[in-house]
Symmetry: C2
Subunit: 166 residues, 2 copies
């Protein structure tokens, strides 16, 4: 009996500036390549610091969903003076601004991903801890309807499905 957690998330709150096409081995600064991202920060009255740039760069290059500790280790390759507290603070800032999405899992530190330009969901295998992206579903439609009936406009949603292999 294998235990699995299916995590589905979608977001339609704001237009994603532009998807980052940074090659996996190009250690470039995402914010330098993406003036749009700089502007997102500035528009929110926030400063574009090298720490924030490094974090976004790393996050843009990863296709998994790192937690703060993993992020911190990777970012240190770009900036070996950055502190964990800054990573925490930055993730919070980026989340508020809408550049990253926070995935709150049970019994594990929060994970993060860049805001995806396309809706997609997630599947977490609890045994391996692996978090896999799966194609988006039309769950969003149902949710939109439900939220709409309550007078709300969905900003984002996050579904956790616990399932058993059949």
């Amino acid at each position: 009996m294998s235990n699995v957690q299916l995590i589905m998330t979608c977001s339609n709150l704001r237009k994603h500036p532009r998807s980052l096409n940074v090659g996996p081995n190009k250690m470039v600064n995402a914010l330098n390549d993406e003036p749009d991202l700089r502007q997102v920060l500035r528009d929110a009255g926030l400063r574009v610091t090298p720490q924030r740039a490094s974090i976004i760069t790393i996050l843009s290059e990863t296709d998994d969903h790192p937690n703060v500790e993993e992020l911190y280790e990777k970012v240190r390759a770009l900036d070996d003076t950055i502190s964990v507290a800054t990573v925490y603070r930055t993730m919070s800032v980026l989340e508020n601004v809408g550049l990253v999405r926070k995935l709150v899992l049970d019994d594990a530190p929060a994970r993060y991903e860049m805001m995806p330009p396309t809706n997609h969901d997630h599947l977490v295998d609890l045994e391996s801890g692996e978090l896999v992206e799966i194609p988006g579903t039309d769950i969003a439609d149902v949710m939109n309807r439900v939220a709409s009936e309550l007078g709300y406009e969905i900003v984002s949603h996050h579904t956790v499905i616990r399932a058993r292999k059949r």
Copy 2:
């Protein structure tokens, strides 16, 4: 701009023994009234302790979704020697056995509720911290299809919707 978290959960994993019809002011022991519940524990090779009985009693009488601290305070009325650790341990046990559901919220301690006999979802108002139940939706159908395509059988699911008043 009011911020709201809509939490939707459903469960279809196992037949709920029987819904508890304990009156709001009847300070009775739920496990004594509900031999089914005792059996659920025994079937899992677990012992029916007074602590577990008290916790289930309190949880059955509440229509909100208490966290461990709130639960602990209320349970102390029935058993003033119970410890917080026991409440934590018991909630974990009851969750594994399928008697309660754990609601993991962001930036707040986990909340719990008795496994509902009928599907229902939740709405959390972040400002007030209030967690309101809303009628179940057919999201479950969509999820079942998605999970089914992946070869999984849904045990439970948990959706968090962040929405903004329109």
